[in-house]
Subunit: 916 residues, 2 copies
């Protein structure tokens, strides 16, 4: 079997199709060479050699001759000799597996330097410092990677850096780049001594030996610990092995006819079809990274090096027509000669993602299906939220620094004055409604709902991606960053400390909910075109190109997808926004948020304080008209679409006041002693509220609550129906763990419906179903389906119970789990297919065994997560329900699920892609 | 098909084998008749008629003629005519399904009374008041059951009782029995009027019509709501239907040659083989219940009615030889003639249960297998605990009243002074160790362990059968009653209120942990013979007949069972008791209880307060010798038996001090500011600790904890092994939800083991395995078995997560669930086979698919529950582990599982029993 694949001078032994053998990087170097891009010459040693190495612990004998021939191939094309003291050919040796494992394996650069060739490099570059610094780096890397020099105590960390620090102290300089040529020479000597002393072996001066050992070291690095963990986390088989790429080094610092740069084939921020990039004359890649010199725009090359620029334009055109996607390239100009060192698919904003896909389709580069598959569904959220002006944000961070980072829980950008209680935000908003406010809390609770609504952004120091703040913010479409652990709030003094900076109530901060970033002071935002047109109706489509692209994409997606998309919404305005964004129904209307409204909470508290069924019924009768009115409004907005209403779910203590002021106020309004309120709160206190008296357990203990809610639903439905609008209510019983719970609650709902229909002289078709959110419900779904006309998987709670993870408390260990590679993804953000998913699948199979064609949906936060949506498609759900602002994401993800299914059906052996 | 089966005068159409057709009661009436017992004549209408009635909504036409013949049969034997105004035959009409459904269906007594026959009854009994009161009751029952008279408003409850109350007010009397004959006559008239007015129908005077309608009403009652709920709760099919038994009424109040009584064929308290019972002359069953007259011992009959007594003795002998078990009979003597109205298997204490089974076997009445199956395994616990003297307890309740009832969480009897904090009990015990103390708390926490150990009994006002108090008490073998909601504790004033009675610290109460009863003051207890012989070694077997019976039974059980039995124990004395009681190993040694000991808790707290790994390691190194010492002691006691040690499980905040005094003391000992302790407690506070940072999550976040524990285990194992005692450690990682957690923790354990073995120059075989207590672990058990050498199902937590029930909080709704028939059994006490059981079975199948022969056990509280033990046997577990005092229960239950399996194999169609 062939072990070495050469590339260079327009011809390569391999191609992009050979990733299995050449790895991703090798295949692409071959591909670029084949399509005529000026890639430095080199060769790739196949993954088969890696497998041999793993099996036998050494490289195959015949490889030596092949590498020898490969080396000659490079020398021939590059016109330099390896080891030539006058003008040496230098090499890079890099790993490259079938899929990218960035930074996990080892790399050696500038290979071929020794005490002789370093002089040649110094003369050729006219830059002895560069030559010696390259040599110094090479010895350092080689000593670490190839010769295995390791720290000899925990304190030492990096023994080479210890030497550098020593030298810097002696030479009285602060930075590496201040070291003189003599300093660097001294360092090279010191490094070699260190290597000899620690490893017992001399640093090899013969370039061939350097090369051979480096190749072996890179193969060896496939099995280092961090690579093994990475593979486990990303489900990459251990037996694939890596390829090794050996390529000529080229240098951009050989004079004013040299340089280095990066470029995108289109604008990665806006998606506009223009060549975009920057470069530095007489520089190496490291100079760009060091930030000492400011790069020039790529267009300047047109004047200074017109031939090179023409070459780059030709490269750009070749890349786009060949890869059919935006490419991000690295190039080096060595003495007027252009080399492309790398090309990869360009990262881009959501705006650019949509624009590029649509325009490439218009240009005939890709098909409509490809355009849809090309867009990461999450990118759509960028189009729905206010965003910071990118230039201004960059400037603010440069001027004032970043303040803190947290988890990006609600996409968008918000800038405003900070307040530390929901009431304070409400008051400030009431006083000056034109300003923007940021609510900053350790965490939020249902009582903060009104303040959260008044705020433009929400920032919490605790909680995860599915904490109360995150859930409610996403549902409200608010910008939100959670788990920002650097923030310390002093509620009493109304101020916060962030990394030694102090902020008082009313100070400005800016929150980027896409990135999870917090900045001090104000940053200008611009509103979403899509929202302005569809929801706010303040902008005409003709003035909204982003909106027009969005609608076109959504139209395509809707034609393709099979999954139906519903919204989680419990307010008429949320419902209206959901419909505008494409919701085909409401999958989860929580009824408890309704009780926190003005003049309602104390009516609800009166119900909680009742000591007899009679008192409780009296209190409930006051809530009935309010709740009926809520439902009427939602039914009107949804006009004939299905509305799934969940009966009361949270534990009652969430509704009671907590701090002394609130208790005082509530006691006064309710006309009860404060002690009574405190006592009731104590009675209702629970060790684990998540697993306590909530969901249908409340409705079973107090059937009159379910009765009131059912009456409100059916009276509202009749009233709306009477006004000529169609209504399709679905009543959903939460937290069922045994079919008998559902039997009982269903009897209450059916009974009330019958009564109301008789009273109103009108019948409305409705369904009664249940959440499947307790493992036992999924395990006994065959029985539950006897009583349930639909299932809705509540995957938030199902995840909590299947894993035994309280989402309010995972902050204490999940970060550690991610860091140590125990978990790959947050199971609250993306559905755990192995555990939770197996319960979902089992629940569906058992449920439909009893009731064929049972309607099944999902209403956890996973309904808005693209990967989870694809799972739901595969698991044959009927619909997903998510927060209104995730609906477009779900629409696209559902379409992609169909497209992927088709492409799998068409290419059972796996498709062949050409992207990097 | 035959519809009516007659019985009477020594001959019956049916027999005990015909329960399907005659129901349990009918089959037994036939059986008793056949074996020559003097049963009043009657007939049974078969369940087939019930099925016909359900299907067609009416009784079959030909039934009328059959009933007519049946009636003639009764008249012939009883020598009275139905409807005869002079000396009327009266009838009872009762339901009777295949299995007993006590009180669920309807019964009509005294049928045949009307304005004429009532006079005959008055004359025959010489007691007009009795006759009219019987008539009054008959009309009342008939109006309700047959004619369907119901309350017409929620307030009314029972319309007949309203009339009675009205009459009592008019006649100025307080009790029903004070009403005169004229009052009763007036009531009968008023009832009839009420019936006519409400139902539009007259009360039927013709006895035949009464009979026919009553039969139909009893058949109808099969489908009333409470019967339907009962069937659902007890898995009784709806389509079985009930039989109806029509039988002659006999009266014990016909003069001094009449009477009524109850008797047991052996002493139900001690099991002694002597006839035992009591009777009242010239009385009816109701008189016994009313408690106005004091019954006489049965032996008195020998003098007053020698023939009747001889008859009874003959009945006793026939019953015992026929039913081969202790029987509980009801008899009536009507004018010197003995009638047996009912016989059923006698309820008995644990002492009686064992003695009767063993003696009946010795007498040749039953086989050894039958003797083992005859004993309810839970009854064994009576033999292991101190008990109250039954006479004295009865007297105390009579004199001082019962104080409160709760859940019987820890069997036994304790009487002592009450204290409201663990410290107070400890102090009192230290001052006066000879007295007994009862710890009374709302609920207990791990900090209370020492106080619980010092107490003889534990009483809590909150929590369920698996609350902390219940679990620890059972493990310690302490008497415990939990969830005693009537108790209100005022910790500040150190007193409690119970139903308006006040108790101060130091007052006496008595707690019966078998019955869940609490009595005021002292009640004398006597210690368990078995424990005195086996554990305390203070009694010789020769002086301990109860012990000798116990051992004989256990020996039989051990020969039969396949399941191995281990103990949950984490102290040397517990381990020793467990071995004495038959433990074959330790299935769960919790390591956290060890940290609460003297001089340890603050060392552990120092570990929690550590801010760096280095500090944490320093603190852990102080705990190492203590923990090693603990393990050494346990290994020595267990001498070569398997010991499964679980690494640290509970959340860290459980170890921090809570109240101000404790914080102050801890801060002083630890030399840190109180604020630091408070802050750390705040940091560790969790919304749902049950689903928080605990179990292996701790060991992963701080691997040095697992390291220290592993080192303590293996050093202890080596030390004990060196002293010539065999050691078999099994390290168990808790709360695993993903195999990678186990991979990591296992690597730590294996690494430490290797180190220790090298250091000690000694190798000890050991296993590393995991708890399966998170649903996801069961669902992904195939992967987990790659790393786990054994599984131990932690069914406590598995139940919590599968149901979504926090065992600390279920008190708020589980009682309601039982009351409403939603749950049949506490899933924490008896394993839920449908949900949790399906996860257990799936986990075993998946696990053994990866690792055939995988060792599997259970270490939840269910390991000591007989039904759950049988499930474990069927699910093919290798062992169950339970608290030491449950081991004999588990041994017997495991033997019964085998015996039942054999009898199922031998009689695939279901065996035929003759017990009632």
């Amino acid at each position: 079997m062939k072990a070495v694949y050469r590339f260079g001078h327009g011809r390569a032994d391999g191609s992009a199709h050979m990733k299995d053998i050449l790895g991703g990087k090798g295949a692409n170097l071959a591909e670029m060479t084949n399509i005529g891009l000026p890639v430095p010459a080199g060769f790739t040693i196949s993954t088969a050699v890696s497998v041999h190495y793993m099996r036998h612990g050494k490289l195959p004998e015949k490889l030596k001759a092949d590498v020898e021939k490969g080396l000659q191939h490079i020398e021939r094309i590059m016109g330099r000799k390896f080891g030539d003291p006058a003008d040496p050919l230098l090499l890079s040796v890099r790993s490259g597996a079938k899929v990218s494992m960035p930074g996990m394996m080892d790399t050696v650069l500038n290979l071929g330097l020794n005490d002789q060739t370093v002089g040649g490099l110094a003369r050729a570059s006219g830059n002895p410092r560069f030559a010696w610094d390259s040599y110094r780096r090479f010895v350092q890397t080689y000593g670490d990677v190839v010769m295995g020099l390791k720290p000899d105590s925990e304190e030492e960390r990096d023994p080479f850096e210890v030497q550098i620090d020593k030298l810097k102290r002696r030479s009285r300089v602060n930075y590496d780049y201040e070291l003189s040529v003599d300093d660097l020479k001294a360092l090279v000597r010191a490094f070699k001594t260190l290597i000899r002393r620690r490893t017992g072996q001399s640093f090899p001066t013969e370039p061939e030996k350097q090369l051979w050992c480096a190749i072996e070291a890179v193969f060896r690095s496939w099995n280092n610990e961090r690579a093994a963990i990475y593979r486990r986390m990303n489900n990459i088989p251990d037996d694939w092995g890596t390829a090794v790429n050996v390529m000529a080094m080229v240098f951009g610092n050989m004079g004013d006819d040299s340089g280095t740069g990066v470029a995108f084939t289109r604008d990665p921020a806006t998606g506009k079809n223009r060549f975009f990039g920057e470069f530095l004359v007489n520089a190496q890649g490291e100079d760009v990274v060091a930030g000492v010199r400011t790069p020039e725009p790529i267009a300047n090359l047109r004047k200074s090096m017109p031939d090179v620029y023409a070459g780059l334009i030709s490269v750009r055109n070749k890349l786009e027509s060949h890869y059919r996607d935006i490419q991000d390239i690295e190039f080096t100009i060595e003495r007027g000669r252009l080399f492309i060192l790398q090309t990869r698919t360009g990262k881009r904003t959501g705006f650019a993602s949509v624009r590029i896909a649509l325009e490439m389709m218009a240009e005939g580069l890709i098909t409509q299906d490809e355009a849809m598959l090309r867009i990461e569904p999450d990118a759509i959220t960028h189009l729905l939220q206010p965003v910071f002006d990118p230039e201004e944000k960059r400037q603010v961070i440069a001027d004032r620094g970043m303040l803190a980072r947290g988890l990006p829980a609600g996409p968008g950008a918000a800038s405003g004055r900070i307040y530390f209680t929901a009431e304070a935000v409400e008051k400030a908003k009431a006083k000056d409604p034109d300003r923007d406010y940021i609510l900053v809390r350790e965490e939020t609770s249902p009582e903060d709902i009104k303040g959260m609504r008044a705020a433009s952004g929400i920032l919490t120091s605790r909680g995860g991606m599915t904490s109360h703040a995150a859930l409610v913010a996403r549902q409200m479409g608010k910008v939100c960053v959670v788990g920002c652990t650097d923030i310390e709030i002093d509620y009493a003094k109304r101020k916060m400390n962030v990394a030694r900076r102090k902020f008082n109530e009313g100070d400005h901060i800016s929150v980027d909910g896409f990135m999870g970033e917090v900045m001090p002071g104000q940053v200008k935002t611009k509103p979403s075109e899509v929202i302005q047109v569809l929801v706010d109706k303040t902008l005409k489509p003709t003035h909204a190109p982003v909106y027009r692209r969005f609608t076109r994409l959504m139209r395509w997606a809707d034609k393709v997808r099979r999954l139906r998309i519903r919204a989680n919404a419990d307010q008429p305005d949320q419902a209206a926004a959901a419909v505008a964004l494409g919701a085909e129904g409401i999958g989860l209307c929580r009824t408890e948020h309704m009780f926190f409204g003005e003049g309602r909470i104390n009516k609800f508290r009166a119900m909680i304080l009742a000591t007899s069924e009679k008192e409780r019924r009296a209190a409930l009768s006051k809530l009935l008209p309010l709740q009926r009115n809520d439902f009427e409004k939602i039914f009107r907005v949804m006009a004939g679409r299905e509305v799934t209403i969940r009966t009361l779910d949270p534990p009652l203590h969430e509704f009671l006041p907590h701090d002394e002021d609130e208790i005082h106020a509530a006691a006064k309004t309710l006309g009860v002693p404060m002690a009574r309120l405190r006592q009731r709160a104590r009675e209702l206190r629970e060790a684990n509220p998540m697993l306590g008296n909530r969901g249908c357990r409340l409705g079973i203990t107090f059937p009159e609550i379910t009765e009131m809610q059912a009456r409100a639903i059916f009276e509202a439905a009749c009233n709306v129906k009477e006004s000529g609008i169609d209504v399709r209510p679905e009543v959903m019983i939460p937290l069922v763990s045994d079919v008998v719970e559902l039997t009982r609650q269903r009897a209450v709902v059916d009974g009330v419906a019958e009564q109301v229909f008789r009273e109103k002289g009108l019948r409305i078709p409705f369904l009664v179903g249940t959440m499947i959110e307790v493992p036992r419900a999924a395990l006994t779904a065959d029985r539950i389906a006897r009583e349930a006309e639909f299932f809705s998987f509540g995957t938030n709670d199902l995840t909590q119970m299947t894993y035994g993870f309280s989402r309010d408390d995972v902050g204490a260990f999940l970060p550690e789990y991610f860091k140590r590679g125990i978990l790959r993804r947050d199971p609250f953000a993306s559905l755990d297919e192995d555990g939770v998913g197996s319960l979902v699948k089992r629940g569906i199979i058992l449920g439909r065994r009893t009731r064929p064609g049972l309607k099944v949906g999902i209403c956890g936060e996973h309904g808005g997560d693209p990967e989870s949506v694809q799972f739901c498609h595969r698991a044959d759900l009927d619909y997903v329900s998510c927060s209104p602002y995730r609906i477009p994401v779900a629409r696209l993800a559902a379409a992609q699920a169909v497209l992927l299914e088709r492409s799998r059906a068409a290419q059972p052996a796996g498709g062949i892609g050409v992207s990097l």
